[in-house]
Amino acid sequence: MTTVSQALAPGELTSGRLPAFVLPTTIVGAAVVGYALAVLLAGGNLAVAVIVGYVLFLVVMEIAARVVEGARQASDHRARHLIVGAFALALVPLASVAWEAVSKGAARFDPLFFSVSMRNVIGAGGGALHAIYGTLWVTGFATLISVPIGLMTAIYLAEYGNRGRLAASITFFVDVMTGIPSIVAGLFAYALMTLIVGPGAKFGFSGSVALSVLMIPVVVRSCEELLRLVPNELREASYALGVPKWRTIVRVVIPTAISGIVSGVILAIARVIGETAPLLIAAGFAASINNDPFSGPMTTLPVFVYDQYAHPGIDVQPYWDRAWAGALTLILIVMLLNLAGRLIARRFAPKIGR
């Protein structure tokens, strides 16, 4: 940023600019005053110091910018500071949750945790291997069900529906579907599978069905939005070359939107991979490894975490350690999925300006 050292008179081509030292000075000043006020009023509470300091900073910058640069530039500054503030604010819970998960999960984040199940374990020791397998099976099947259905529906809505009655009602009911409480999805899946295979239908695939009910609307919603954003010019260019519609969609539209689609799918997986309540109902609970998704109860990581947290033995610590280690593992799995998704997206996305 170039610095214009003095304000120019009205009528000249560029108006005044705040000198470069104003911003850092105001930040430091506001921080110091905020902290001092917090010490005086609230016993040095850090949250109070940050809030007071931030408000002070906004006020000072607003006044300074208005005086030197005028109202339009001042609102530009204000927007910038509020937006950066919003981002910083979102980092607070993230940092706090991450710190909790890492510091408390580290105790049992050891090789044993990933090499054994909870079979025949009382008290300390044991691991979550059964739950990791369970998570992969249940979420994997849910993804296999949801992504094709969800993506094809999104394609229908964006490319074929022409905002007709069927498309309108699908869009509407997909929104309604996002509001199905997870436990209802679990009850529904259990009732449906009981209808099909008889009583006691608690197995991994039932859980996948329950998760699919939750996952499909998320996939549809984000994919549809992204397909609509693909510029019509690309489709038209493809049609002009005589490419049929379906190949246009598969070769042009989807690759253009792939990065968003992948991140939408990953978000949808993240949305359901942490579900507890429906899986307790539909997939049951097991302490041993079960790699048959069509028979016998199957435990997933969130269920494992919840069970360790909610039903500890008399010495709580090993159970809580396992719970946090499980939570950390779950977060890491989703992180890896996210990373993989991004790599895939980057690999297949067309090279364009952005």
Binding site: T143, A201, A310, H311, G313
Partner: protein, 353 residues
């Protein structure tokens, strides 16, 4: 193309498969016993399962701690081989032929297997021990006593230094639970003039107060709050103070010994088969800690499938044995069944066909 994200998931599943050396622990050829029900028994069931599976290689016991209600309906529908329940089946729920997993003419059996005292836990700065008369306790949880310096509390605790002006936050279970049922039953039996509501799984909404999910939630809220009091499984109390309840003027702590004897002072429900051990608890006996949860295993008198019967017989037999009870006491902090009750349960288990 839409195959790519799918392919990545398929890849991950394939990797998972490749890494899993063995198909399933316990083996496909192994026998599986399915239980479902009360979460109060979860820690004890985990201990029993571990010991039983160690002694009987190839058997897998899966106990889902979904809750008593879910366990009873799973058992009735034949989806579980046995149920864990914080109360015995009611008369109208019993009856030959009502249970899909039992033989057509067979009734169910209610067997007490797990006894746990319910502690009144508190977190008040500078106070380590408290005792309450039932009336005071009922008034606290009914929202009639709102401050820790209330004269009624001071009268019960002449020696305690109660903080002035600190509001009481009385924490109860927000979920339906057998613990709430037994605790409200205790207040109703011991302080009927204050606690006018009958025992119920749901904490009476009219009494207000703070609500928390499950035992762990109550313990969390009491531990992290200021001036809090709550009720929870005694074994879960951890480092929290446990209040004594004054029964006939004597303070009683929620110890396993004071809790276990409640069954010896109580009678079985009338009009049931001789083997059925559904108790109606008598909480007013002298020297017996009144707030006690008794949890049951519900099994068939006669199973449709003889191999189920023998598995259930040996598993529930182990649970009710001296070994099983002491394993649960060690792992879950429960009160072992008194010897006389153990014998009765053993006789009932032996009669399962």
């Amino acid at each position: 193309m839409n195959i790519k994200p799918i392919a990545s998931v398929a890849l991950i599943s394939a990797v998972a498969l490749a890494f899993s050396g063995c198909a399933s622990e316990g083996g496909a050829a192994g026998k599986t016993l399915t239980g479902s029900g009360a979460s109060s028994q979860a820690a004890a069931q985990a201990a029993w399962t571990a010991a039983f599976q160690t002694a009987n290689q190839g058997v897998t016991v899966n106990y889902s701690a979904e809750g008593s209600g879910a366990g009873r309906s799973a058992f009735t529908a034949g989806a579980a081989d046995f149920a864990g329940s914080d109360r015995p089946l009611k008369d109208e729920e019993m009856g030959a032929g009502k249970f899909a997993g039992c033989a057509a003419d067979s009734n169910a059996l209610n067997l007490p297997v797990y006894i746990s005292p319910i502690a009144v836990v508190f977190n008040v700065d500078g106070v380590t021990a408290l005792q309450f008369s039932p009336d005071t306790l009922a008034k606290i949880f009914a929202g009639q006593i709102k401050s820790w310096d209330d004269p009624a509390i001071a009268k019960d605790n002449p020696d305690a230094k109660l903080p002035a002006g600190l509001a009481i936050t009385a924490v109860h279970r927000s979920d339906d639970s057998g613990t709430t049922n037994n605790f409200t039953d205790t207040l109703n039996k011991l302080a009927p003039s204050v606690w006018t509501e009958a025992a119920s799984d749901t904490f009476p909404a009219a009494f207000g107060g703070e609500a928390a999910d499950k035992t762990a939630g109550v313990i969390n809220a009491v531990t992290n709050g200021k001036g809090t009091i709550g009720y929870a499984d005694a074994s879960a109390a951890g480092s929290l103070g446990k209040a004594s309840i004054l029964v006939g003027g004597k303070p009683l702590q929620p110890t396993p010994e004071a809790a276990a004897s409640i069954l010896e002072h109580s009678k079985t429900v009338t009009g049931r088969a001789a083997n059925d051990l559904a108790f109606s608890l008598d909480r007013t006996s002298e020297g017996v800690y009144p707030a006690v949860l008794v949890s049951y295993a519900i099994v068939c008198q006669t199973y449709k499938d003889a191999s189920r019967a023998s598995l259930v017989k040996s598993y529930v037999g182990y649970i009710a044995s001296a070994d099983g009870q002491s394993a649960a006491a060690k792992a879950a902090g429960s009160a072992p069944l008194p010897a006389s009750i153990q014998e009765k349960v053993k006789a009932a288990v032996d009669s399962i066909k």
